[in-house]
Symmetry: none
Subunit: 229 residues, 2 copies
DNA sequence: GTTAAATGTCACAAATCTGTAACAAAACTA
DNA sequence: TAGTTTTGTTACAGATTTGTGACATTTAAC
């Protein structure tokens, strides 16, 4: 599949963590690791993953607390979470308490089981009208507002994001600055047409991953377009 | 575009090919089959399909090479292409998309998945209305502001572009320098009428692809026109 | 309230285009 | 053919358009 899937694993057991990571990466996931709750929250603030696997017993804010915090924030309120717990620990409590976790797994568990749970959750969370635009080595996940080039994540400001999206909806088509102002900035909003240049510049810069070349063509006296050659 | 839904399948696996064909036909497509790259190119030259499904590992020119060749030709530069690959490595995928493939499917795949990808691509490719002016070996894509002669891309400055476009809108018609100044440069803009000569010269030069001859006729004491003979 | 991120403008540099003039070549005229 | 007119060709300086980095202001995040 062409879909970008990123998973955060929060686990303080230094023997278990690499194992989980290994299995996830083998299955094509991009993995971020944290060993305590604080670290986890930082990473999530930075970038919201597609799914989080959190151990119940971690230092600092516990898995449960992390869970609660995540649920409170709008951005992460729907983030699929899997809680890991040791057998005999407070299994029922985890399940019974309404922590907001979407699933929980009892240690020890098999890689197969883990993958099954993950896939199940992801299917559920992304099945609702997943929209991805791809063009050459660029891809945009419209649901998550994430942009990738050559499988590397790109951070774009809102305007650059809209610009790129607009270009990709008609690859190759040339848009004048006025047209772009109209469709990206919005009808009736007046800004200098040269502002477009600056944002084009920013978009180019942001998308400039090593090993790629400028993908926006400028058509003198006409405007800009995606380079489709 | 018409509702002619024709798909070319290039696959050397004699077990897989009939399966794909069967599924496509069941969905109302007209299927053409090829088992190697050469055959595929011949079929495409004969008749450009609405979409091509090409296996990565085929004899003669590989899937990617075929892809590249198709992208270079103007007639097929926008033909939607799906690459099939047995290796599921990320690297291959990137390479596939870089080469110009529009989508990429890893074997094994389900008929459902295949159909989903096909429909998605067809929807995309038929939605953008193309404005193209063609005359002999010259063609202008108005949306993309691109000019070709003998399938070679030509770079023109703004004035030359407008000049050419103006000529092609009435092939054969003779325009005086004054008329050209009026319609290409614009009403009320005063420049020496001999400026037209210079731009005609530049246009001729730019369009002078090897194996072609001067396509602008000068009509002494009257003006210029496209040569329609 | 402090920090950070995003936005719109501007000024200057770099790239490209344009109009002209001057001369060469070709076409026409007598 | 010589002379005249028209067009081809080239070079170049000035004009336009675009690239780029910096800055102040606004907006959002925490």
């Amino acid at each position: 599949m062409s879909e970008k899937r990123e998973i955060l694993v929060v686990e303080d057991d230094t023997a278990l963590l690499p194992m989980i990571t290994y299995n996830l990466e083998k299955n094509g996931f991009l993995v971020k690791e944290a060993t305590n709750g604080e670290e986890a929250l930082l990473l999530i603030k930075e970038e919201i993953p597609s799914l989080a696997i959190i151990d119940w017993m971690i230092p600092a804010p516990s898995g449960l607390e992390v869970c609660r915090i995540l649920r409170k924030k709008k951005e992460t309120s729907k983030l699929p979470i899997i809680i890991l717990s040791a057998k005999g620990e407070e299994e029922d409590k985890v399940r019974g308490l309404n922590t907001g976790a979407d699933d929980y797994i009892t240690k020890p568990f098999s890689p197969t089981e883990l993958m099954a749970r993950i896939n199940s959750l992801l299917r559920r969370s992304t099945s609702s009208s997943e929209e991805i635009i791809e063009f050459k080595d660029i891809s945009i996940n419209l649901n998550e507002h994430k942009v990738y080039r050559k499988n590397k994540k790109i951070h774009l400001g809102p305007t650059e994001y809209k610009l790129l999206k607009h270009f990709l909806e008609n690859p190759g088509r040339v848009y004048s600055r006025e047209q772009l102002l109209d469709s990206v900035w919005g009808h009736g909003i007046y800004v200098e047409s040269r502002t477009v240049d600056t944002h084009i510049r920013r978009l180019r810069k942001a998308m400039n991953v090593p090993g790629t070349k400028n993908f926006i063509r400028t058509v003198r006296a006409a405007g800009y377009s995606i380079d489709i050659d």
